[in-house]
Protein backbone atom coordinates (compact mmCIF):
# COMPACT_ATOMS: atom_id res chain seq x y z
CA UNK A 1 0.00 0.00 0.00
CA UNK A 2 1.12 3.55 -0.73
CA UNK A 3 2.74 4.87 2.50
CA UNK A 4 0.77 8.12 2.33
CA UNK A 5 -2.54 6.26 2.10
CA UNK A 6 -1.48 3.83 4.81
CA UNK A 7 -0.55 6.71 7.09
CA UNK A 8 -3.89 8.40 6.52
CA UNK A 9 -5.73 5.13 7.07
CA UNK A 10 -4.06 4.50 10.43
CA UNK A 11 -4.43 8.13 11.46
CA UNK A 12 -8.11 8.44 10.58
CA UNK A 13 -9.10 5.12 12.15
CA UNK A 14 -7.26 6.02 15.37
CA UNK A 15 -8.73 9.53 15.35
CA UNK A 16 -12.25 8.13 14.96
CA UNK A 17 -11.72 6.27 18.25
CA UNK A 18 -10.16 9.24 20.03
CA UNK A 19 -12.90 11.67 18.96
CA UNK A 20 -15.70 9.28 19.99
CA UNK A 21 -14.12 8.15 23.27
CA UNK A 22 -16.72 9.92 25.42
CA UNK A 23 -19.60 8.39 23.46
CA UNK A 24 -18.08 4.90 23.79
CA UNK A 25 -17.65 5.40 27.52
CA UNK A 26 -21.26 6.53 27.88
CA UNK A 27 -22.47 3.44 25.99
CA UNK A 28 -20.27 1.22 28.16
CA UNK A 29 -21.43 2.84 31.41
CA UNK A 30 -24.97 1.83 30.46
CA UNK A 31 -24.30 -1.90 30.03
CA UNK A 32 -20.61 -2.62 30.71
CA UNK A 33 -17.95 -1.48 33.13
CA UNK A 34 -17.60 1.99 31.67
CA UNK A 35 -14.02 1.81 30.48
CA UNK A 36 -14.36 1.13 26.74
CA UNK A 37 -13.90 4.73 25.58
CA UNK A 38 -10.90 5.43 27.78
CA UNK A 39 -9.27 2.09 27.04
CA UNK A 40 -9.70 2.40 23.28
CA UNK A 41 -8.50 6.00 23.39
CA UNK A 42 -5.35 4.90 25.21
CA UNK A 43 -4.72 2.25 22.54
CA UNK A 44 -5.43 4.63 19.64
CA UNK A 45 -3.18 7.29 21.16
CA UNK A 46 -0.35 4.78 21.51
CA UNK A 47 -0.79 3.94 17.81
CA UNK A 48 -0.76 7.63 16.82
CA UNK A 49 2.49 8.08 18.77
CA UNK A 50 4.09 5.50 16.44
CA UNK A 51 2.43 6.84 13.27
CA UNK A 52 5.66 7.59 11.32
CA UNK A 53 7.02 4.19 12.13
CA UNK A 54 3.77 2.35 11.30
CA UNK A 55 3.19 4.23 8.02
CA UNK A 56 6.62 3.15 6.76
CA UNK A 57 6.09 -0.57 7.42
CA UNK A 58 4.69 -3.05 4.87
CA UNK A 59 0.93 -3.32 5.50
CA UNK A 60 1.00 -6.81 7.14
CA UNK A 61 3.75 -5.72 9.57
CA UNK A 62 1.95 -2.47 10.39
CA UNK A 63 -1.25 -4.40 11.18
CA UNK A 64 0.64 -6.81 13.45
CA UNK A 65 2.45 -3.96 15.21
CA UNK A 66 -0.83 -2.10 15.79
CA UNK A 67 -2.41 -5.26 17.17
CA UNK A 68 0.47 -5.75 19.59
CA UNK A 69 0.23 -2.13 20.69
CA UNK A 70 -3.47 -2.59 21.48
CA UNK A 71 -2.79 -5.79 23.43
CA UNK A 72 -0.12 -4.10 25.53
CA UNK A 73 -1.76 -0.70 26.08
CA UNK A 74 -5.54 -0.97 26.16
CA UNK A 75 -5.90 -2.60 29.59
CA UNK A 76 -9.41 -4.00 29.10
CA UNK A 77 -10.94 -6.93 27.22
CA UNK A 78 -11.04 -4.86 24.03
CA UNK A 79 -7.20 -4.91 23.92
CA UNK A 80 -6.80 -8.63 23.26
CA UNK A 81 -9.96 -8.68 21.10
CA UNK A 82 -9.06 -5.82 18.74
CA UNK A 83 -5.37 -6.77 19.09
CA UNK A 84 -6.10 -10.30 17.91
CA UNK A 85 -8.24 -8.95 15.07
CA UNK A 86 -5.41 -6.76 13.76
CA UNK A 87 -2.62 -9.27 14.39
CA UNK A 88 -4.54 -11.96 12.49
CA UNK A 89 -5.30 -9.54 9.63
CA UNK A 90 -1.57 -8.81 9.47
CA UNK A 91 -0.69 -12.48 9.46
CA UNK A 92 -3.19 -13.33 6.71
CA UNK A 93 -2.88 -10.27 4.47
CA UNK A 94 -0.41 -10.07 1.56
CA UNK A 95 1.60 -6.87 1.01
CA UNK A 96 -0.72 -5.67 -1.77
CA UNK A 97 -4.12 -7.21 -0.95
CA UNK A 98 -6.91 -7.64 -3.50
CA UNK A 99 -10.57 -7.68 -2.44
CA UNK A 100 -10.50 -11.49 -2.20
CA UNK A 101 -7.43 -11.33 0.08
CA UNK A 102 -9.15 -8.86 2.38
CA UNK A 103 -12.25 -11.07 2.55
CA UNK A 104 -10.22 -14.15 3.43
CA UNK A 105 -8.01 -12.34 5.99
CA UNK A 106 -11.04 -10.69 7.60
CA UNK A 107 -12.73 -14.09 7.89
CA UNK A 108 -9.66 -15.53 9.64
CA UNK A 109 -9.48 -12.50 11.94
CA UNK A 110 -13.15 -12.86 12.93
CA UNK A 111 -12.59 -16.56 13.68
CA UNK A 112 -9.65 -15.62 15.93
CA UNK A 113 -11.75 -13.02 17.79
CA UNK A 114 -14.54 -15.57 18.29
CA UNK A 115 -12.01 -18.00 19.74
CA UNK A 116 -10.34 -15.62 22.18
CA UNK A 117 -13.66 -14.06 23.21
CA UNK A 118 -15.36 -17.49 23.32
CA UNK A 119 -18.24 -15.73 21.62
CA UNK A 120 -20.29 -15.85 18.46
CA UNK A 121 -22.61 -13.74 16.36
CA UNK A 122 -25.92 -12.80 18.03
CA UNK A 123 -24.56 -12.16 21.53
CA UNK A 124 -24.53 -8.33 21.26
CA UNK A 125 -20.81 -7.85 20.71
CA UNK A 126 -18.38 -6.44 18.16
CA UNK A 127 -18.90 -9.67 16.21
CA UNK A 128 -22.41 -8.48 15.34
CA UNK A 129 -20.76 -5.74 13.28
CA UNK A 130 -17.69 -7.60 12.04
CA UNK A 131 -19.56 -10.63 10.69
CA UNK A 132 -22.14 -8.71 8.55
CA UNK A 133 -19.35 -6.43 7.30
CA UNK A 134 -17.41 -9.53 6.26
CA UNK A 135 -20.43 -10.75 4.28
CA UNK A 136 -20.78 -7.35 2.60
CA UNK A 137 -17.06 -7.26 1.76
CA UNK A 138 -17.41 -10.48 -0.19
CA UNK A 139 -20.17 -9.16 -2.45
CA UNK A 140 -18.82 -8.31 -5.89
CA UNK A 141 -20.88 -5.25 -6.78
CA UNK A 142 -20.32 -1.50 -7.24
CA UNK A 143 -19.92 0.96 -4.36
CA UNK A 144 -18.18 -1.60 -2.14
CA UNK A 145 -16.88 0.89 0.41
CA UNK A 146 -20.15 2.76 0.74
CA UNK A 147 -22.01 -0.52 1.21
CA UNK A 148 -19.52 -1.75 3.82
CA UNK A 149 -19.74 1.50 5.79
CA UNK A 150 -23.53 1.44 5.66
CA UNK A 151 -23.67 -2.22 6.70
CA UNK A 152 -21.33 -1.52 9.65
CA UNK A 153 -23.46 1.37 10.93
CA UNK A 154 -26.74 -0.50 10.44
CA UNK A 155 -25.34 -3.57 12.22
CA UNK A 156 -24.21 -1.48 15.20
CA UNK A 157 -27.75 -0.02 15.39
CA UNK A 158 -29.13 -3.54 15.20
CA UNK A 159 -27.40 -4.40 18.51
CA UNK A 160 -29.75 -1.99 20.33
CA UNK A 161 -32.72 -4.39 20.61
CA UNK A 162 -30.46 -7.40 21.23
CA UNK A 163 -30.11 -9.08 24.61
CA UNK A 164 -26.48 -9.54 25.64
CA UNK A 165 -25.33 -13.08 26.35
CA UNK A 166 -21.59 -12.41 26.50
CA UNK A 167 -19.38 -10.05 28.47
CA UNK A 168 -20.37 -7.94 31.42
CA UNK A 169 -23.53 -6.73 29.68
CA UNK A 170 -24.87 -10.29 29.93
CA UNK A 171 -25.18 -9.83 33.73
CA UNK A 172 -27.94 -7.33 32.97
CA UNK A 173 -30.01 -9.86 31.02
CA UNK A 174 -33.19 -8.19 29.73
CA UNK A 175 -31.97 -4.79 30.91
CA UNK A 176 -29.21 -4.85 28.27
CA UNK A 177 -31.97 -4.43 25.66
CA UNK A 178 -32.32 -0.87 24.37
CA UNK A 179 -28.62 0.04 24.45
CA UNK A 180 -26.14 -0.12 21.60
CA UNK A 181 -23.20 -2.40 22.28
CA UNK A 182 -20.06 -0.26 22.78
CA UNK A 183 -17.80 -2.77 20.98
CA UNK A 184 -20.19 -2.88 18.03
CA UNK A 185 -20.13 0.93 17.94
CA UNK A 186 -16.32 1.17 18.07
CA UNK A 187 -16.05 -1.45 15.30
CA UNK A 188 -18.48 0.44 13.07
CA UNK A 189 -16.66 3.74 13.73
CA UNK A 190 -13.31 2.28 12.70
CA UNK A 191 -14.76 0.55 9.64
CA UNK A 192 -16.46 3.80 8.55
CA UNK A 193 -13.23 5.76 8.95
CA UNK A 194 -11.27 3.18 6.96
CA UNK A 195 -13.88 3.17 4.15
CA UNK A 196 -13.82 6.98 3.94
CA UNK A 197 -10.04 7.06 3.53
CA UNK A 198 -10.08 4.30 0.91
CA UNK A 199 -12.78 6.12 -1.10
CA UNK A 200 -10.57 9.20 -1.52
Amino acid sequence: MDPTVQRKLIEQVANAVVSHADELTTLDQAIGDGDHGLNMKRGATAILERLDDLAAMPLPDALKAMGQTLVMKVGGASGPLYGTLLMTLGKEMPIAPKQSDVVRAFGAAIAAVKKIGRSDVGQKTMLDVLAPVHVELAVEAPALLARVRQRGAASADATIPMKASKGRASFLGERSIGHMDPGARSSSLMIAAACTVMEE
Partner: protein
Protein backbone atom coordinates in the same frame (compact mmCIF):
# COMPACT_ATOMS: atom_id res chain seq x y z
CA UNK B 1 10.24 -22.54 49.15
CA UNK B 2 8.58 -25.79 48.07
CA UNK B 3 8.49 -25.70 44.28
CA UNK B 4 6.18 -28.69 44.13
CA UNK B 5 3.25 -26.40 44.92
CA UNK B 6 1.44 -24.63 42.10
CA UNK B 7 2.13 -20.89 42.04
CA UNK B 8 -0.70 -18.38 42.36
CA UNK B 9 -1.09 -15.10 40.49
CA UNK B 10 -3.86 -12.69 41.46
CA UNK B 11 -5.01 -10.32 38.71
CA UNK B 12 -7.50 -7.58 39.48
CA UNK B 13 -8.52 -4.35 37.74
CA UNK B 14 -7.59 -2.65 41.01
CA UNK B 15 -4.01 -2.88 42.36
CA UNK B 16 -5.42 -2.46 45.89
CA UNK B 17 -7.79 -5.42 45.50
CA UNK B 18 -5.01 -7.58 44.02
CA UNK B 19 -2.56 -6.69 46.77
CA UNK B 20 -5.13 -7.16 49.52
CA UNK B 21 -6.21 -10.54 48.18
CA UNK B 22 -2.56 -11.60 47.93
CA UNK B 23 -1.97 -10.51 51.56
CA UNK B 24 -4.80 -12.78 52.66
CA UNK B 25 -3.46 -15.73 50.65
CA UNK B 26 0.01 -15.16 52.08
CA UNK B 27 -1.37 -15.21 55.63
CA UNK B 28 -3.14 -18.50 54.93
CA UNK B 29 -0.34 -20.36 53.14
CA UNK B 30 2.81 -18.66 54.42
CA UNK B 31 5.79 -19.11 52.13
CA UNK B 32 4.79 -22.56 50.89
CA UNK B 33 3.24 -21.27 47.68
CA UNK B 34 4.86 -18.97 45.09
CA UNK B 35 2.56 -15.95 44.95
CA UNK B 36 2.41 -12.75 42.90
CA UNK B 37 -0.21 -10.09 42.21
CA UNK B 38 -0.81 -7.42 39.62
CA UNK B 39 -3.53 -4.86 39.03
CA UNK B 40 -4.15 -1.66 37.12
CA UNK B 41 -3.61 -0.64 33.51
CA UNK B 42 -0.38 0.77 32.06
CA UNK B 43 -1.23 4.22 33.41
CA UNK B 44 -1.96 2.94 36.92
CA UNK B 45 -5.75 3.35 36.53
CA UNK B 46 -8.31 0.56 36.84
CA UNK B 47 -7.63 -2.20 34.32
CA UNK B 48 -5.08 -4.88 33.60
CA UNK B 49 -1.75 -4.94 31.80
CA UNK B 50 -0.60 -7.92 29.74
CA UNK B 51 3.12 -7.21 30.29
CA UNK B 52 2.58 -6.94 34.06
CA UNK B 53 0.64 -10.22 34.07
CA UNK B 54 3.52 -11.96 32.26
CA UNK B 55 5.93 -10.53 34.85
CA UNK B 56 3.70 -11.74 37.71
CA UNK B 57 3.57 -15.25 36.21
CA UNK B 58 7.39 -15.21 36.10
CA UNK B 59 7.56 -14.17 39.78
CA UNK B 60 5.16 -16.89 40.88
CA UNK B 61 6.65 -19.52 38.56
CA UNK B 62 6.59 -23.12 39.75
CA UNK B 63 7.48 -26.19 37.72
CA UNK B 64 4.20 -27.62 38.96
CA UNK B 65 2.38 -24.82 37.13
CA UNK B 66 0.73 -21.51 37.89
CA UNK B 67 -2.94 -20.76 38.59
CA UNK B 68 -4.06 -17.26 37.60
CA UNK B 69 -7.06 -15.93 39.54
CA UNK B 70 -8.92 -13.02 37.93
CA UNK B 71 -11.80 -10.66 38.71
CA UNK B 72 -13.75 -9.39 35.66
CA UNK B 73 -13.84 -9.81 31.85
CA UNK B 74 -10.74 -7.92 30.73
CA UNK B 75 -8.59 -9.46 33.46
CA UNK B 76 -9.49 -12.89 32.11
CA UNK B 77 -8.95 -12.03 28.42
CA UNK B 78 -5.68 -10.22 29.18
CA UNK B 79 -4.46 -13.15 31.32
CA UNK B 80 -5.18 -15.57 28.47
CA UNK B 81 -3.29 -13.25 26.13
CA UNK B 82 -0.35 -13.18 28.57
CA UNK B 83 -0.30 -16.99 28.72
CA UNK B 84 -0.37 -17.14 24.91
CA UNK B 85 2.78 -15.03 24.88
CA UNK B 86 4.76 -17.41 27.16
CA UNK B 87 7.13 -19.98 25.63
CA UNK B 88 5.52 -23.24 24.62
CA UNK B 89 6.29 -25.80 27.29
CA UNK B 90 5.49 -23.23 30.00
CA UNK B 91 2.24 -22.05 28.42
CA UNK B 92 0.62 -25.45 29.04
CA UNK B 93 1.36 -25.21 32.78
CA UNK B 94 -0.65 -22.05 33.39
CA UNK B 95 -4.43 -21.94 33.87
CA UNK B 96 -6.83 -19.06 34.43
Amino acid sequence: MTVSNVGIVIVSHSPKVAEGAADMVRQMVGDSVPLAWTGGNVEGGLGTDVAAIIAAIERAWSDAGVAVLVDLGGAETNSEMAIDMLDSGRREKVVV
